[in-house]
């Protein structure tokens, strides 16, 4: 299935893109993270090594809705989903 990832702030600077489509085989977030971490230096920002889950300060947004689970295996994704990982906001 195909999902689209939106990049903001650091993520945009690191990837050099605003958004990008990925083909993944499993219907959970882990499959996507593996591809992302292989392609870009994003692991240290997104991944909490100690607790083996997504960092608590990262907001996971799927189809413009916040997801509150942090274990990628528990986060289902479907074909056509739009996904974003957000660092804490800082309005002007």
């Amino acid at each position: 299935m195909i999902v689209e990832v939106l990049y903001f702030a650091e993520f945009k600077d690191i990837t050099g893109k605003e958004k990008e489509k990925f083909e993944i085989l499993d219907n959970n977030l882990e499959a996507l993270l593996n591809i992302l971490f292989e392609k870009y230096k994003l692991r240290s920002i997104i991944w909490d090594e100690k607790n083996q889950k997504i960092h608590s300060l990262i907001s996971i947004i799927i189809n413009n809705q916040a997801i509150h689970k942090k274990d990628p295996l528990l986060i289902d994704i479907s074909d056509g989903d739009t996904i974003a990982f957000l660092l804490p906001v800082s309005g002007g």
């Binding site: 939106l6 660092l87 804490p88 906001v89 800082s90 002007g92």
Partner: protein, 148 residues
Amino acid sequence: MHYNEDFVKSGIYNKGEIVLESIIKSVKANPKIKKVGSIHAFTGIVRDSSINGKPVARMKIDAYDELANKSIFEICERLKQEKGIMDVKIVHLKGEFELSEDLVYVVVASAHRKEGFDVISKAVDMYKKEIAVWKREDFNDGTSEWIH
């Protein structure tokens, strides 16, 4: 709902798309304007130093428009419920900004000034915490930092 041509929607705009004057004009075109005694406006601009004193040369603002627009709408609707508040507008710009350029506008119209001062200060605190907008400070020494 029918709006007149002066109507400005709160939300994320590109730099250069909107000026404070238009937002105030929009507030003045609100049908409840006759009940308003004070209009409060906040403009956030690019300061030449970061919060810890590092010299800033310019700034970049990025936004997740759909999310930010939703949060801005919710903040405005919530604050318009407060007593004596007739209108609340939040407009956040995005793009690349030089020193002293406008980054964000908040406009509140209230029956009396006390409520207006309270709510505009609340609106600023809320947009800073709740909307999907990020700023990157580009320092004089050539380094950059996204603020969180």
